[in-house]
């Protein structure tokens, strides 16, 4: 299938080397950058073609794909691609991201060699994260990053690094497309691998929620709404039981949710409800939490009775609401007992 006479169809070793040379040349910005950029894009396209097949190109055999991947590891090509991503043209960036993802997904039996490779080169992950700093590569890097996060070993490296906290900054960025991409990566990190996430949250509870608080207080409506929703999901996940217990034992958190229940936005109110309900449903409410609820008992009952009463078709919500109202009504007895 490979033609010796066709310049564009090189063998895996040649193509990886040419790509590397092209990218290094782009980095040095030497002779004719447009020409080199064009060449790099062509090489990326044919590499993609080798892996995926293209209109006039059959996908190559497993052997070729293996050679290609092996040569990429040997030449450090993934890292070099990422370091020079900005210098690659618009379509080239998309091809590069696709190549990265295909190579990442490679499996030999139960092994995933590229994942193993990246574990030895974690700077690849950190480069991907810092992609959010520059808007021209942010979405391409986000794509690759989420592909990495699917693998527990790689997600763990990110969670354990200080770079993880950069997400709190990125998700609040002013460009919506980038901020929301960063948020989906952030969310994947916190929800894909339950056990390591639970460990992480328990071990870093204070630091994490200190940062998270800023998202809930954000001026940006989308940040507030999305982070509140994610908080609800995190707390209600069984794996995060210890984290939930800690969170719903803090009266400051309860106050925040009660404030958010009254936000102007119906969607934010609704998300706040799903966090608030955990405080009320807790069978072992700590005293400070109990006190707040008892003090606001009448107001809460009145408020909840009217709360989103147009959601008639949402049975679960109405059941939960009725349950909360009953719980709060019954609170008085408890407090009477304790005070008498």
């Amino acid at each position: 299938m490979l033609s010796f006479f066709s310049k564009s169809q090189k063998n895996p070793n040649e193509i990886v080397r040419s790509l590397k040379d092209g990218l290094v040349s782009l980095e040095r910005n030497d002779k004719k950058p447009e020409k080199v950029s064009e060449e790099v894009s062509k090489l990326l396209q044919s590499t993609k073609g080798m892996l995926l097949g293209a209109p006039e190109q059959e996908p190559q055999t497993e052997i070729v794909a293996a050679q290609l991947a092996q040569e990429m590891y040997n030449q450090n090509l993934l890292l070099i691609i990422l370091q020079n991503m900005k210098r690659v043209d618009f379509e080239g960036k998309k091809d590069a991201a696709q190549i990265f993802n295909i190579v990442l997904r490679r499996q030999i039996g139960t092994r995933t060699p590229t994942v193993e490779y990246i574990c030895t080169k974690p700077e690849i992950l950190f480069l991907l994260i810092s992609g959010y700093d520059s808007s021209e590569v942010a979405l391409n890097c986000g794509n690759m990053l989420r592909e990495c996060i699917r693998y527990e070993a790689l997600a763990k490296i990110i969670l354990q690094s200080p770079d993880f906290y950069r997400f709190f900054h990125y998700v609040e960025g002013s460009a919506f497309d980038i901020a929301s991409d960063a948020f989906s990566s952030f969310k994947d990190l916190l929800t894909k691998h339950k056990i390591i996430v639970a460990e992480f949250l328990e071990a870093n509870y204070d630091k994490f929620f200190q940062h998270y608080q800023k998202l809930l207080d954000s001026d940006n409506y989308v940040t507030r709404r999305q982070s509140l929703k994610l908080l609800g999901e995190l707390l209600l996940d069984r794996h995060n039981f210890n984290v939930m217990t800690k969170y719903i034992g803090n009266p400051e958190n309860l106050k925040l949710m009660m404030i958010m229940l009254r936000e102007k936005s119906k969607n934010i109110q609704f998300e706040a409800f799903h966090v608030f309900k955990v405080f009320v449903a807790n069978p072992n409410k700590p005293r400070p939490i109990l006190e707040i609820l008892v003090r606001n008992r009448e107001k809460l009952i009145e408020f909840l009775t009217k709360f989103h009463s147009d959601r008639t078709d949402d049975e679960q919500f109405n059941d939960e609401k009725a349950y909360l109202i009953k719980q709060i009504k019954d609170l008085k007895a408890i407090s009477d007992n304790t005070s008498s």
């Binding site: 043209d89 460009a175 919506f176 497309d177 929301s180 709404r225 119906k266």
Partner: protein, 527 residues
């Protein structure tokens, strides 16, 4: 295929001199804050979004801004994010350029290229109203030239692994230079049509476009693929020739049934006169037949279609500019049309079919609700308060000005509908319009006086917020609780804009007392 980022397609040469990557600026130098934009007139409106023409002040460049109300995007925020990301990964001369997006309070502002030629749907409407289209709306060369551009855009989508899902004339936009771009990629489910002139939009409620839907999409076959776009493309080809999608006369369910049960449609499907489209060529018919095969695997790809002999006759964008734009309606409201205003029914021109019915069946995008039982004319007489609702002395508008409105109200199926209409100051009467809305089956008969009153009130004292919400006499269904924010038992009336009777340039809707902004504001020098 164009792959180079072409960021200089805008109106201003200043674009390239802007600093890249500022803290609140996206990569291509488009600012991400509302203060950098001057909002001008509304150019389109849907259930969750409005589209405005705007000026990007630091770039001194015109653009369009879709303002999506995120409170109304209740569960699908993540889906919306994904689709905007997909859009920003598109860069092709036949796909509407996405510039940037940012959050302003509860709205998402999507900054995109302004295409001042409007949509092909607008142009078709204009032709149908003003010219003899019995033998087709456009000549074959025009159709081929447009469709080739559309195919190039589709080819790009499909190579990217994306599906457009809503190909139709209303989503094909024209630049002032005759360039053709596909709009509303991906976000079509969330954002209503863009580029429709106000007058045109009068006929729309956004209930989807079943006329263009491929059979496999209707059957909800899991994982339908890009071949669904090819079907819609075939229907669009028919639309460009005949002015309508083949089953435009029928309600949605009927369209689904006809599409699934009948032979695939052709140019003749919607014909009313024998041989009226006879002169369209074999090559054109072949293109349509091939696209409209029920088995999606048999339909050609965009790339294959581009090689069809039909496209041998294409010309360039200059030709399109001449054939489509130089006689077209433009994006803004057309000059007041004397022939239709002499219609003795006065206010109904925007809704009516040629026979004067308020049936909407003419419109291929609207699915007409069943008419109500109430006889509106009787109601008008009985109420008796239906004198001319207009107090000319206090009205802030002058006679002859056309005010665009949208009434958002639930239909019998409790779905929100946006009913657009125009009100000519000094010609129309609020209660007469209310009565017409009722006789068209769009508003419950019991709401005659409240709708009339709301309209009258808005005309006399335009609300600062452009919009009022008022309770309906018809109330709510037995299982509903009245709620203002979700318009249960309430309706919302919004002033879209004001249009002088004689000109094409609309006055900004919330500053009626100011002179209309010039179409080309003073350039502002950027640092």
């Amino acid at each position: 295929m164009e792959t180079k980022a072409d960021l200089s397609t805008g109106d201003s040469p200043a674009a390239s001199t802007l600093p890249k990557n500022g803290p609140s600026t996206s990569s291509n130098g488009w600012p991400t804050g509302p203060k950098s934009y001057e909002i001008k007139n509304v150019i389109g409106m849907g259930a969750t979004a409005q589209v405005y023409a705007a000026m990007c002040i630091p770039r001194n460049q015109r653009c369009a801004i879709k303002r999506i109300n995120l409170e109304k995007v209740s569960t699908n925020m993540e889906e919306l994010c994904k689709e905007i990301q997909a859009m920003s990964l598109c860069n092709h001369e036949n796909v509407v350029n996405y510039y940037t997006s940012f959050v302003v309070d509860e709205e998402l502002w999507l900054v995109i290229k302004l295409l001042a030629g409007g949509s092909l749907h607008d142009i078709i409407k204009y032709r149908l109203e003003n010219e003899d289209c019995r033998h087709g709306v456009f000549d074959e060369t025009t159709i081929a030239t447009v469709l080739k551009e559309v195919l190039k855009g589709l080819e790009y989508f499909h190579h990217n692994g994306q599906i457009h899902r809503d190909i139709k004339a209303g989503n094909i936009l024209l630049g002032e230079d005759g360039s053709v771009q596909i709009a509303d990629f991906g976000v079509s489910a969330f954002i209503a049509n863009y580029g429709g002139g106000l007058r045109d939009n009068c006929r729309h409620t956004f209930v989807g476009t079943p006329c263009f839907m491929a059979p496999e999409v209707m059957e909800q076959v899991v994982g339908y693929d890009y071949k669904a776009d090819i079907w819609s493309f075939g229907i669009t080809a028919i639309e460009l020739a005949t002015g309508r999608a083949p089953y435009h006369k029928f309600p949605a369910m009927k369209v689904l049934m006809l599409t699934l049960q009948n032979e695939s449609p052709s140019l003749e499907t919607g014909a009313e006169i024998k041989d009226q489209y006879k002169h369209y060529s074999k090559n054109f018919r072949k293109l349509i037949t091939d696209c409209l095969q029920k088995d999606p695997t048999k339909r050609p790809t965009a790339t294959e279609l581009l090689k069809y002999p039909f496209f041998k006759k294409v010309k360039d964008r200059k030709y399109l500019k001449e054939t489509l734009l130089d006689h077209g309606p433009g994006m803004y409201i057309k000059p007041y049309d004397e022939t239709s205003s002499s219609d003795k029914h006065g206010s109904g021109r925007f809704f009516r079919t040629e026979s004067g019915d308020w049936t909407f069946t003419e419109d291929d995008e609207y699915v007409s609700p069943a008419p109500t039982e109430v006889d509106a004319i009787d109601a008008v007489d009985n109420v008796g308060l239906l004198s001319n609702g207009l107090l000319e002395e206090t009205a802030p508008w002058t006679n002859g000005e056309v005010v665009g409105f949208v009434l958002r109200v639930r239909n019998q199926n409790r779905e929100l509908n946006d009913i657009r209409f125009e009100y000519t100051i000094g010609v129309d009467a609020a209660d007469a319009i209310a009565a017409e809305l009722i006789s068209a089956g769009l508003v419950d008969g019991r709401d005659l006086s409240v709708v009339g009153a709301a309209l009258r009130k808005t005309i006399e004292h335009p609300p600062l917020s452009r919009s009022i919400v008022f309770p309906l006499t018809s109330g709510v269904s037995p299982n509903e609780v009245p709620d203002e924010s979700s318009l249960l038992g309430f309706a919302q009336l919004t002033v879209l804009g004001v249009f002088p009777s004689d000109g094409t340039s609309p006055i900004e809707e919330n500053s009626c007392s100011q002179p209309p902004p010039a179409t080309q504001p003073e350039p502002i020098v950027s640092g």
